[in-house]
Amino acid sequence: MISTAVTDLWYGFGVALEPHNLMYCFLGVLVGNLVGVLPGMGPVATISILLPLTFGMQPVPAILMLSGVYYGAQYGGAICSILLNLPCHPPHAVTCLDGFPLTKQGKGGTALGITIIAAFIGASFGITEMIFLAPFLVKMALEFGPAEVSTLMLVGLLAGSTLAKGSPLKGIAMTVLGLLVGFVGSDIETGQPRFTFGITELYDGVEIIALALGLFGIAEFINSINNTDTVDMKYARVGISDMFPSKADLKLAFWPMIRGTLLGSLCALIPGTGPTIASFVSYATEKKISKTPERFGHGAIEGVACPEASTHSSVQGDFIPTMSLGIPGDTVMALLLGALIIHGIVPGPQLISEHADIFWGLIASFWIGNILLVILNVPMIGLWVKLLSIPYRYLYPSAIFFVCIGVYAANNDMFQVGETLAIGVAGYVLLRLDFHPAPILLGFVLGPRFEENFRRSLLISRGDLMTFIEHPISAFFLMICVLLIAAQIYVWLRKPKVLAGEEPTGPESPTTRYSELAG
């Protein structure tokens, strides 16, 4: 098994090192790093803006570039949170706790250096995990019939909506809403238009780009206009020479990095728990097992190393269920899945065997991309820091322009720009009502395929619902669903006590902008 993995990986490097693939990978991580640094721009919005631009491209470079944006943004986000105490991206909210005190002590450079090392270790482990785990999962998944696939999707949807931030009940409601939005358009089997309200443009369904850009672009701009904090740049002066951590710091940070990496890769495997949860969990663990927990929050280097390592390992691990099973774990993955579908690639277990170039090329590009990011970040740190001072008032109008033209260019259709606007306003209303829009996208991407498999399995069983219980694997998935719901009800019933007991001790996390909660 190892030898086949190595040959496949070798092939992947061959794909990823093709000049134009390499170029797009570089472009992806560069853009990702850029938006990671800029406060107020997230990877979700960026990927949706870039998505229409990839229509003319081959699928391989398109996917390499879009994924590059995702993990590139994680590198950039660390800079922002350590130097400015601004958690631009939620996984890095924890990094602020110790990163900013370090910056105040004049050790911001060291913290960044440690971050980059931790990131690289975490990412490498996540990639290795993907190399060995994904083919294994695929072998299992190839046995799946429609009954198993639909119950597996149910698990993914439930986990994605309940484990994310905010009320689980509202999360599920949003997922269902997303599923319903996914049904807009012609019915796959009979061709009957559904929910089109007589609008011809809706017969093809709601465009994923319009949905994503409406929810995470327009809605966020509405939310954050005249609402952003002024950036305090007084500590943000870092040169290359400050970046190399001392031996003592490295020694302190080594084990936390390893622990963070392992925790992160574990979190990546549970659908719905992305990098954000991974970094919070690992920070809490590190604090608990540390001999000097009082140092945390006042500039402990472990408090930077551990969450960063776990963020990056779970970012890479996130790709495992998406690529091997076709079940996205979070919003970014849902978007990437959408990108695959747009490029005519059916996600699912057959992806690795049918589109080996995409899968192994992607894995190889992760490594290349991470190395590129280290190269980009170490010597050019000064430039990134300068970028932090771009004010939001220049950013968002340009971003809106990209939104407009991106949506238009997707189909050369002005109707979609209007659609995006309408979705954006709806998204803002939902946001004000405390509904997080991230599960909508999850439901939207999975919706049509869920329906297809559900109907097919009922067709095979002649309308007998027992089919889902008679197949052992799908029964197992259903059990997980029941457990998930039961756990939520349990937590909900206990909540009054838990809140009273634990609220004061919870870490004071800086507020994050909502759309970032999704990624």
Binding site: A173, L180, F183, R194, N227, C404, I405, M414
Partner: protein, 141 residues
């Protein structure tokens, strides 16, 4: 207590959507509509049941009517001007209108930003990616 309203809205739309579709192709939508309606009731129930009355209003503390208007107005103008005027006026007006939504922005800085973005956009989208979107309708550039 806004959550109640939200619950009701979700419920309402759930039912409407559910009963609208026919059986067969409409089977899943009906089912999900019912689920959504049920969830709406649950959400409303928990909102009513919790003793804490949250006095959060629907509008944020400082409503930015002008900013919102600008953000929405930009793309609307983009649609109109894009349809009848072409890419250059559409992009310029869209960015300009969006930019003046910010409190600190001046007309001059917005115009400069809009000009810059227009130039960049034309170069990238028209010449590099060559999307079919005439720079100026009626004028052959």
């Amino acid at each position: 207590m806004l959550l109640v309203g939200a619950g009701a809205a979700v419920t309402g739309s759930g039912y409407k959507i559910g009963s609208l579709a026919k059986m067969g192709p409409g089977f899943m939508p009906v089912m999900l509509g019912i689920v959504l309606a049920f969830l709406g009731i649950l959400i409303a129930g928990t909102a009513l049941g919790s003793p804490k009355t949250n006095d959060t209003t629907f509008l944020p503390d400082h409503p930015q009517w002008f900013g919102w208007l600008c953000i929405l107005g930009g793309p609307i103008l983009f649609i109109i001007l894009g349809q009848y005027g072409g890419m250059i006026p559409a992009v310029f007006v869209c960015v300009f209108v969006c930019a003046i939504g910010d409190k600190t922005a001046t007309y001059k800085s917005s115009a400069m930003l809009a000009a810059g973005v227009t130039l960049f956009g034309v170069l990238l989208f028209h010449y590099l990616l060559s999307i079919p979107f005439p720079l100026l309708r009626g004028v052959n550039l």
